[in-house]
Structures are given as structure tokens and as C-alpha cells.
């Protein structure tokens, strides 16, 4: 059994993510209060989008400052379709958003494959700035600044005991678990290794027969699909899709999630999302409760956010996931060396280098 698990990544990941889904589903049902359910759904949504971005930026080396805009495409696909036909099922909306965002990702990816480093960042940045203006100009289709209301998904009749909030949290968690399962396999696959090869050395990759441009476009499409899925869920989560929800701030927050969590780490995407969702919840009350002049107190939550970012990057330069990994490795090494010294007291010291 053990050797089978070691040999088959698919089986190992499959069992792990099934167990994870069961635990999260049970927590939602038995433990979480409605506000926690709401926030957990938010963590799942940010994590899906950030996971796509961490594959693109961490694994493939392409920086995107425009992932908020891709989420916006997903959110507007869902919202516009629901505006026309409010009864369309959620699962269909998710796939429709994945499709439109995937196409958008391919187009941006083809343009992006010609650009490197800061130029790619600049191009995606312009997308993040420009796209929120579109709904304002085509107001009849996109609802203008006011945005489009999105109905709350209701659980099927068979699950009458489930609240709409629990139902939606389950949907988000399921979407996140499936996304992470697929991405975790992708990272360990030949495609995943090609992505990293292109990041590390394009010339070497080309010599090894890897089509660099195609790999880069593929990375962009995968990452855009994640953003589209997250965007669709985001529309349901907020219940209103308006351009002000998809400003540059969202794109930068996603990048923050990825960097704080650990560039290229899927676990990091989850940890970073947790921080980005929960930090405002924990600090939001300071503005009205802190006994400070209001012009100071109003900015305390933002200041705490900034300090946490700075501290996280100083303490964990490789992100929280990287930090946790190196701490656990250090602990394991200490533990192992102590056991070695106790069992083999006479072993000679290694020669000084």
C-alpha cells in the first residue's frame, strides 16, 4: 500500500484531497457559525485565484498584475448571464465563466509570451486599470457603475436543512479542492516540469525541445481559468458585480496573497488568502473602538495591514509556506541529529570543509 502511494501521485493526491474535502465539509456543517462560513467561502475564492497566479508567477516566472481583471471577466460572465436568465444553474455559470476567461487568458497569453519581466507586468497592469472602465461605457449591457445584482444560490429541495450560506460555502470549498487537486497534479507532471524549465532558463528549455511560447500561453490559460472560476464564485459571494469591486487593488491583493504565502506554493496560496480575508475582519473594529483621534484611528487597520506585510516578508522571505517548511526541516534535522548522537555516540565528526 505504502509503495503504491509513493509510486502513484494521482492516488496519493486523490486520497489527500478527498480527506480534506470531507473534513472541510464536516467543519462547515458542524462547527462553523454563519460568519465563519461566509469568510471560509471568501478564503476558498481567493485561494482559487491565487493558486492560478502562483502557478503562473511562481512556477512559470510570468508576473501578472492583471489577475483582478481576469476575475472581473469571470464575474461579469456570470452576472450578465444571470441578468438575462436568473434561473440558470450555478454549475453552468462556473463553466461559462471558465470558458470566457480561458479565451481571454489565451489572447493575453499570446501577447504576453512576447513580453518579459517588467514589460509583461506593465501590459497586465494596463489591463487591470482599463478593464473596469468597460462596464461604465457599455452601461446597458453591464449595468454601469451601479453594477448587476446576483441572486444567492439556494440549496436543492432535497437538502432543506442546509442554509444558503452553508450550501454556498460547500460549493466554494468543493471548487477549491478540485482546483487544488488538479493543480497539484499539474505541478508534479511533465507539463509542470516544462513550466519550471521555461522559468529557469528559456534557452536550455528550447534546446531540450520545449516550445517556450506555447508553454507560456498554456500557463496563462491555466491561470486565467482559475481566475475565471474564482470570479464567478466571487460574484455570488458579494451578490453585486460592479466595476469598483475589481480595481487595481484586487490585482495587487492577489499578488500579495501569492508573495506572502510563498511564491509557487499552493499551500502558500491558501495561507495568504486566509490572511487577506481575516486581517480586515480582525482589525476593522479598531477605527470605532480605538480611543485615538479619528484621522489616526481610521487608518489603523490599513497600517496594521502594511506592518503585517512588511513583517511577513522580513521574517519569511520565501513566504509563510517557505518559512513553515524551513522551520519544520530545521526541527526535523535537530531531532534526527540528536537521535543520531544518542545512538551513535562514537561517530566521528565530519571533516571540516
Amino acid at each position: 500500500m505504502r509503495s503504491l502511494l509513493r509510486r502513484s501521485t494521482l492516488l496519493r493526491h486523490g486520497l489527500f484531497f478527498l480527506a480534506l474535502a470531507a473534513i472541510l465539509g464536516a467543519l462547515t456543517w458542524f462547527v462553523f457559525d454563519p460568519f465563519t462560513e461566509y469568510n471560509v467561502a471568501g478564503v476558498a475564492i481567493y485561494a482559487i485565484s491565487a493558486a492560478g497566479l502562483t502557478v503562473l508567477t511562481g512556477l512559470n516566472g510570468q508576473v501578472s498584475l492583471g489577475h483582478g481583471a481576469l476575475m472581473m471577466i469571470g464575474a461579469y460572465t456570470t452576472s450578465v448571464l444571470l441578468q438575462w436568465h436568473p434561473d440558470l444553474p450555478l454549475i453552468l455559470m462556473l463553466f461559462a465563466s471558465i470558458a470566457t476567461t480561458g479565451v481571454a487568458g489565451a489572447i493575453i497569453g499570446i501577447a504576453g509570451a512576447r513580453l518579459r519581466g517588467p514589460y509583461l507586468a506593465g501590459a497586465t497592469l494596463s489591463l487591470a486599470v482599463a478593464l473596469p472602465q468597460v462596464p461604465t461605457h457599455f452601461a446597458s449591457l453591464f449595468g454601469g457603475n451601479q453594477g448587476i445584482s446576483v441572486p444567492t444560490p439556494v440549496p436543492p429541495d432535497a437538502l432543506a436543512a442546509v442554509t444558503p450560506q452553508q450550501w454556498f460555502t460547500w460549493i466554494c470549498l468543493a471548487a477549491a479542492v478540485i482546483t487544488f487537486f488538479l493543480l497539484a497534479n499539474l505541478v508534479r507532471s511533465a507539463t509542470g516540469r516544462r513550466l519550471q524549465m521555461v522559468r529557469d532558463n528559456e534557452v536550455a528549455a528550447r534546446l531540450a525541445g520545449v516550445d517556450v511560447a506555447r508553454t507560456q500561453v498554456l500557463a496563462f490559460v491555466i491561470s486565467a481559468i482559475c481566475a475565471g472560476l474564482a470570479g464567478s464564485l466571487f460574484a455570488y459571494w458579494i451578490t453585486l458585480t460592479s466595476p469598483t469591486g475589481f480595481t487595481l487593488t484586487l490585482s495587487l491583493s492577489l499578488l500579495t496573497v501569492v508573495v506572502i504565502g510563498g511564491l509557487g506554493s499552493l499551500t502558500g496560496a491558501v495561507l495568504g488568502s486566509f490572511i487577506i480575508v481575516y486581517l480586515p475582519v480582525w482589525t476593522g473594529g479598531f477605527a470605532s473602538s480605538a480611543n485615538l483621534p479619528s484621522n489616526v484611528a481610521n487608518n489603523v487597520p490599513l497600517a496594521i495591514y502594511g506592518i503585517v506585510l512588511i513583517a511577513a516578508i522580513l521574517v519569511f522571505p520565501r513566504g509563510i509556506a517557505g518559512g513553515v517548511a524551513s522551520i519544520s526541516r530545521a526541527v526535523a534535522t535537530t531531532f534526527r541529529s540528536r537521535r543520531q548522537t544518542s545512538t551513535l555516540p562514537a561517530s566521528p565528526a565530519p571533516p571540516a570543509q
Binding site: F35, L240, V281, G284, N298, P301
Partner: protein, 447 residues
């Protein structure tokens, strides 16, 4: 035998005792007696209410003072015995004028902080993101800090009430003034939008009136988006109005964008008369933005000279008004770091109205009783210049405004009487004849 009698007497006494207990309980829940935890967010000693506010972001200039000012008034009330011996806890959270954040923070207020009511939540686009949710949870949504007509929709939003005059009422009265004072001139619009109720409702009201007058209305309104990118595009919008020959610009804009528009016009050597909605015209706020260097360079405060605007509260600069001296005194004690301007006055006056509503909701208020209290609340003894429109079929706040002009000293002076109307295009504008009220000596609404 004796013991038997005793036993039966005990039984009778016990029965009486139980009946008395029931009676007391029955009385307690309706009228006199002790304070009870009568509703979510209401305990025997406190009432917790919540709000979402633009403490940071593009609408923070000026508006970030409103919630701290309201809180200062609540602290004053709390220090003087509270309302029915309950203190008011006011939790206001920053949404940065971003509807996404408004949705999250409102969930926090409702699900985690368990607020009794939402009070003074600020902004049209932001509050539209949560108004369905608040109403579906049956939470009183009192005095939305926005003049959108949308809050007055009793069948759709039975819990939601406006407070300030809606933008259509305000627009009609502004339009009447333009007809009377700028006959023969070209009038253009600069507004938040398009498809933002703030801009469209205001334009609707002004246009209704201008059709009766002798002015040329430029067909295309110029719009701005309330974001950092939107601020950069204001110059183009103002240049378009200049090119079209607008001599009067009607501006439905938040303070930062009024300031950018003023600065852009000055930069183009273009000097139209600005007619600015109350929400975007507070002289102290505009002066602060212009002279403080918030727009990149320090600009002269004189840019606000001659702005035509309106007010539904006494002017903040009128220190002879008893309401102004009351609120300014409270501000000096309970929030000394706040400036004194129209935003602070707004927050305090709105908080005063909330205390009126809470008192009228009874000793043990419930969510239903405070909604009923506001619907019956024809209070004319508050700081407002015009009467409220509240009834069971109407959730409109103040029904009118008084015109005002900003002078060379940077302070506004009123022009003409208080005028009232409704947001119906065909209804006439009339002069309000009620007498201005004076505050109670305690500074707290009496029962």
C-alpha cells in the same frame, strides 16, 4: 387537620405566586418595569448599532469625519444617562467606498457583531450592494447617508429609510434657482456615473425644472468614476464642457471630485458658475482638499468662491444658531481632533435623529418598534430646516433644502427661504413656513 389546612394554604399561595409571576412577566414585556434584552443587539444596558463608512479611499475626504462625529454625539448621550439607561455602542467599519468591502463588512456587523440596526451607512453604490441582504434579514436600515431615491421603496425595502433630501428633490430646487438666476445661459452637467443613482437622480431633478425655464441645456452630461483612475479623467470632462460653452456647471459629485473639477476648470482658465449638490460642496472640506495639497499641488482656497449650493441643516459656519453651538460644543469635548465642518454637523444631526427614533421605539425597543417609530416620526423639533417625509408608505427623509452661496470668505450664506417638494416631476416647489426649532437644554431629544 392543621397540617392539611397548611398544605392547602401553601398550595393556594403557590398558585397566587405563580399567577403573579406570570402577570409581572406579561406587564414587563409591554410597558413599565425593568430594561430587557428586547431584540438582537439590545441588552438591558446597551444598544449596539453598526455602519459601513468610507474611512479611507476616494470618498474619504470629508466623509471620513461623519461616523466619528456621530459617535461623539452618542458618547455625549451615553455620558448623560444614555437612552432609557442604555448606552449606544456604535461600530463603524471602513469599506473604502468599495461595494465588495461593504458586503463583507456588513456581514461582519450582522453575523458577528449582532447589531440591532444599521445606522447611517454611507454611499449609493456601496449601500446598494447590501440593501437586499439587510432587508432580507429584517434589520432596520436607518438613515442611509446618501440621497438616492432608491431608499424610498417601501414594498421592496421595508426596513430602509433615507435621511437627507433625495437628489431629485435637491435637483429640482437647484434647477428652480438656475431658472431664476441664470436665464439665457448654457448649462452643463458634471456627475458621478453614468448609471450611478447619485448622478442620474440629481440630473433628473434639475432637468425637470430647467424644462420650464429659459436656459440652454447641453445634451450630454459629463460623468466621472469615483476611483483614482476616474480622478485623472476629470480634466477631459471639464474641457468638454468648456468646449461646449457651458456657463453654468451643475455638479453632482463627492467632495474630492468637486475639488478636482474646480482645479481642472481653473487650470483651463475656464470660469463657469458651479452649482454643486450639498454632498459635494462643504466649504471647509473643499478648502482643505484644495489648500492641503491633496491634488498634487497646493491650490488657492478662493477656487470655491461663488459656488451655488444648498443645505437642509443650519450652516456649519453660523455660530449664532443654537444647534450649531450645541453640536460644536459636543465636538470640542468628545471629538476634539475633528475639524468643525458640514460633515461633522451631518454626523451629529443624523445621530440626534437616531436618538429621537430610539426613544420613540419604547423602553424595550424591538426591530419592528423602531421601524414603526420612524414611520410615525414627524419630528419637527430636530436640527433639520425642512420637515421629514416619513410615513408607512414613504421612507423619504427631509423634503426640502435652502439655497446657499459660498462667499469670498469661504463660508456659505443662505439665499431665500427653505423650499419643499417631492421627487415627483409634476409636483410644485413650495416655500416651507414652519418655524425653526431650538434644541432642548439637555442637548438630548426629549421623549
Amino acid at each position: 387537620m392543621r397540617s392539611g389546612f397548611n398544605r392547602s394554604r401553601t398550595r393556594v399561595l403557590a398558585t397566587i405566586g405563580i399567577a403573579a409571576a406570570f402577570l409581572t412577566a406579561a406587564c414587563g414585556s409591554s410597558s413599565s418595569g425593568a430594561n430587557q434584552a428586547s431584540a438582537p443587539g439590545v441588552t438591558a444596558t446597551s444598544v449596539t448599532i453598526g455602519s459601513t463608512q468610507p474611512l479611507t479611499g476616494p470618498a474619504a475626504a470629508g466623509y471620513s469625519e461623519i461616523a466619528p462625529a456621530a459617535n461623539a454625539y452618542f458618547k455625549y448621550v451615553n455620558a448623560h444617562g444614555g437612552v432609557n439607561h442604555r448606552t449606544i455602542n456604535y461600530t463603524y467599519l471602513d469599506d473604502g467606498y468599495n461595494p465588495t468591502n461593504t458586503a463583507t463588512q456588513t456581514k461582519k456587523l450582522v453575523l458577528q457583531d449582532n447589531v440591532f440596526a444599521i445606522f447611517g451607512a454611507l454611499g449609493t453604490p456601496t449601500h446598494l450592494a447590501v440593501v437586499n441582504y439587510i432587508n432580507s434579514e429584517k434589520i432596520p436600515d436607518l438613515f442611509v447617508a446618501s440621497g438616492c431615491n432608491c431608499w424610498n421603496d417601501v414594498s421592496k425595502y421595508p426596513e430602509t429609510f433615507g435621511w437627507q433630501p433625495d437628489y431629485t428633490i435637491e435637483g429640482k430646487i437647484l434647477g428652480q434657482y438656475i431658472n431664476q438666476n441664470f436665464a439665457g445661459k448654457k448649462v452643463g452637467f458634471f456627475a458621478q456615473g453614468p448609471n450611478d443613482e447619485f448622478g442620474t437622480d440629481g440630473i433628473l431633478g434639475v432637468t425637470d425644472e430647467l424644462q420650464n425655464g429659459d436656459v440652454t441645456l447641453l445634451p450630454t452630461p459629463q460623468y466621472y468614476t469615483p476611483t483614482a483612475a476616474g480622478a485623472m479623467a476629470v480634466g477631459t470632462a471639464i474641457a468638454a464642457l468648456q468646449a461646449a460653452g457651458a456657463q453654468v456647471i451643475v455638479s453632482f459629485s463627492v467632495p474630492l471630485f468637486t475639488a478636482v473639477a474646480l482645479a481642472s476648470a481653473a487650470g483651463l482658465n475656464y470660469h463657469p458658475t458651479f452649482v454643486v449638490s450639498n454632498v459635494g460642496s462643504d466649504p471647509a472640506t473643499l478648502t482643505g482638499i484644495l489648500t492641503g495639497g491633496a491634488l498634487g499641488t497646493k491650490l488657492p482656497g478662493a477656487l470655491i468662491d461663488g459656488i451655488v449650493t444648498d443645505s437642509y441643516l443650519p450652516l456649519a459656519s453660523d455660530s449664532t444658531n443654537p444647534w450649531i453651538s450645541l453640536f460644536q460644543g459636543i465636538k470640542n469635548t468628545y471629538a476634539p481632533s475633528l475639524p468643525w465642518d458640514g460633515n461633522v454637523l451631518y454626523g451629529m444631526a443624523e445621530a440626534y435623529t437616531f436618538v429621537q427614533a430610539l426613544k420613540a421605539a419604547g423602553q424595550n425597543p424591538t426591530r419592528a418598534s423602531i421601524v414603526a417609530a420612524v414611520q410615525n416620526g414627524k419630528w419637527t423639533d430636530g436640527p433639520g430646516l425642512a420637515p421629514y417625509g416619513y410615513s408607512s408608505s414613504n421612507h423619504l427623509g427631509f423634503l426640502g433644502v435652502q439655497m446657499a452661496i459660498i462667499g469670498t470668505d469661504g463660508a456659505a450664506t443662505t439665499a431665500g427661504p427653505v423650499q419643499v417638494t417631492t421627487d415627483n416631476a409634476s409636483s410644485a416647489i413650495t416655500t416651507y413656513t414652519g418655524t425653526p426649532s431650538t434644541p432642548p437644554t439637555s442637548g438630548i431629544p426629549s421623549d
